[in-house]
């Protein structure tokens, strides 16, 4: 089901459907360090001089380009645990290649490979750079090879820029030198320690967020500052936030890693969705509240069996119901839900669309036990206020019509 564009633009902020920007712009808005908080260790530890920062930038760029391309072509077909080993192995190969090249170059030029010695024990640790693994898992797996290379170039540019900048500042302030040559007598010892790198990263992140906030005020950017919120993913906090949004008449938040939400008034569920067994990915992610607004549980839903059509009376169309897994102990009077792997939302058709003729009742749920739940990567997004209105109309109809 695909959303209509107008409804999508009105109800949901642009995510994957953002206008295609230059890849250098993506290096800022999707920066692995300052936005995603990935790959901090090499920056905090190794990028203490300009040469160290440059070395980290070059090696990380090589890793990103190679890993994202291979992930897009080959590694995405492997299971996740094997992909992680692949990233590490590729990183080790890149490190060894870089070291061998550095040694060969120093022998050829007759100079000493100072950069490699400056980085020292931290050079091999670049093989376990989390920025590469996270980028490949969250981006390259879903992109074609050309787009993966573009994304890798953007990530490498962003990461390298921050590494070189931080290395420059730390060398100037910490050693009073520039590229190994004395520059000033002022030395702030300790800035080259890991805490100095972290403080500088925080300051850079704040500067970047201020730029995003200014651009969002002018309407030239959406969602970039929100991506830097980086809060604790507490289920209770998220539920309360969604309840606050509902009180204000807005739709609950759509987490791109967890799917989107449908409000249902239903029975008891286990509080922690992580306790539920994993099943196949399904389109509908449900959250439930009781009559007092107290959140109960949330999880992905299995479409309920389609009721048998009635010949005389029009068939009753019920909202999609969820089924609890068999291991569930608490009895549930209402829809059931099972926990599935989070799916990334993609353009989907709404069950209720503003432009399409609105059905008087909700569409029929998917068919039944004879058919396996449809395994797709689409998610269903429902305008909550429309759904509430339809549910209210249905209740009123049922009250007026005793049959």
């Amino acid at each position: 089901m695909a959303k209509t564009k107008a409804w999508q633009e009105q109800e949901f902020p642009e995510t994957d459907e953002q206008p295609r920007r230059h890849w250098l712009w993506q290096a800022l808005t999707d920066n692995p360090l300052l936005v995603q908080a990935a790959g901090i260790c090499p920056i905090a530890v190794a990028a203490a001089t300009i040469r160290g920062g440059l070395l980290v930038a070059i090696i990380t760029a090589a890793q990103l380009l190679l890993c994202e391309l291979l992930t897009s072509l080959l590694l995405k077909k492997l299971p996740g645990w094997l992909r992680a080993a692949g990233y590490f192995a590729i990183g080790l190969g890149v490190i060894c290649g870089a070291f061998w090249f550095s040694e060969a170059l120093s022998k050829w030029t007759g100079t000493d490979s100072q950069a490699v010695r400056t980085v020292g024990v931290f050079l091999p640790l670049l093989a376990a750079n989390s920025a590469v693994a996270l980028r490949c898992e969250h981006r390259a797996r879903q992109l074609p090879p050309g787009e993966a290379l573009r994304d890798a170039a953007a990530a490498a540019a962003g990461y390298g820029f921050v590494a070189i900048l931080i290395g420059t500042v730390r060398e100037l302030l910490g050693w009073g030198s520039f590229w190994g040559r004395p520059f000033t007598e002022v030395q702030v010892r300790g800035i080259w320690m890991p805490f100095g790198g972290l403080l500088l990263l925080g300051a850079l992140a704040a500067l970047l967020k201020q730029v995003f906030l200014r651009l969002e005020e002018k309407g030239r950017l959406t969602g970039a500052a929100a991506a830097m919120e980086f809060q604790i993913e507490d289920w209770e906090v998220r539920r309360q936030r969604d309840l606050d949004l509902l009180d204000n008449g807005e739709a609950p938040s759509a987490d791109p890693h967890e799917g989107t939400f449908l409000l249902l008034d239903n029975g008891m569920f286990p509080e922690d969705p992580a306790q539920m067994q994993m099943t196949q990915p399904l389109p509908l992610f449900l959250k439930s509240w009781d009559a007092d607004g107290k959140p109960l549980a949330s999880g992905f839903a299995v479409p309920a069996p389609k009721p048998a059509p009635q010949t005389k009376a029009p068939p009753k169309k019920e909202p999609p119901k969820a089924e609890l897994p068999k291991k569930e102990k608490a009895p549930s009077a209402g829809p059931k839900m099972v926990r599935t792997a989070p799916v990334r939302p993609e353009p989907v058709k709404p069950l209720v669309s503003k432009q399409a003729p609105r059905p008087e009742t909700l569409p029929e749920p998917a068919p039944a036990e004879t058919e396996q739940p449809r395994v797709t990567q689409e998610t269903v997004e429902i305008k909550i206020s429309e759904l509430m209105r339809l549910l209210a109309e249905q209740e009123e109809q049922e009250m007026n019509d005793p049959k």
Binding site: I40, A44, A85, A89, L92, C96, G190, A206, E233
Partner: protein, 228 residues
């Protein structure tokens, strides 16, 4: 036959020498071993905390602090893999050919050992009927192939630790990670409630600065002078 016996005696004597070196010397008492293990553990957790003073595993600590309910599994995985990798790498380094390798090739060897251990553990997780297997397989990569697990054997080699010290260093790496993650999580919870933080600092910038200040505090344990 006689030549084979001589070869066997030579091998046996070399094996005994290696075992003596591995055990930290037959003349070193068990008490000294325990004290040196305690010393190495203390360094890993407090005096030179691997996350704050060393900067290793900072991303994993911050991202784990963001998600409730993963700390125990992450710390156990880090401890186990760090300890086993360090022990195996220390054993390999006693071989004369490997001990003379340049550091980068030795690091590549250590990385290979870690990779092999990870594949073994993940393979066993796939084959054995484990509870919540999908979750285990999804998280095992992040908690086993990261900078802190990879740094422990390298640092043990650089610091010249014995096998017992390396084992203690690896086991307490998980404890260091847990301490760091708990502190960062507590700070993130406090920062979230503080409405006085300017919007440009709210979120990741404040978290990074807070982590940097924690690292500064732990740097004080090292006794390193900082002149401004």
């Amino acid at each position: 036959m006689i030549q084979n016996k001589r070869l066997a005696r030579t091998f046996l004597s070399r094996f005994i020498c290696a075992a003596t070196a591995i055990g930290g010397g037959m003349e070193v008492s068990m008490k000294n071993n325990l004290l040196s293990m305690f010393n190495a553990g203390l360094y890993a957790v407090f005096l030179q905390n691997l996350v704050f003073s060393g900067g290793f595993g900072t991303t994993e600590a911050i991202r784990t602090a963001k998600k409730n309910g993963r700390l125990l599994s992450a710390s156990l995985a880090i401890s186990l893999f760090s300890a086993v990798t360090t022990v195996i790498c220390q054993l390999l380094t006693t071989l004369p050919r490997l001990a003379t390798l340049p550091f980068i090739w030795l690091a590549a060897l250590y990385g290979g050992v870690l990779l092999g251990l990870y594949l073994l553990a993940a393979g066993l997780s796939v084959l054995l009927p484990l509870p919540r297997k999908t979750l285990v397989l999804r998280r095992i990569g992040m908690y086993c192939l990261n900078t802190i697990v990879f740094a422990v054997p390298l640092l043990s080699f650089r610091l010249g630790y014995s096998i017992f010290q390396g084992l203690a260093y690896g086991l307490t790496a998980g404890l260091a990670f847990a301490a760091a993650t708990l502190l960062i999580n507590a700070g993130m919870a406090t920062l979230r409630e503080n409405k006085a933080i300017p919007p440009m600092f709210f979120g990741l910038p404040a978290t990074l600065i807070y982590t940097g200040l924690l690292a500064l505090a732990f740097t004080g344990f090292t006794g390193a002078p900082l002149t401004f």
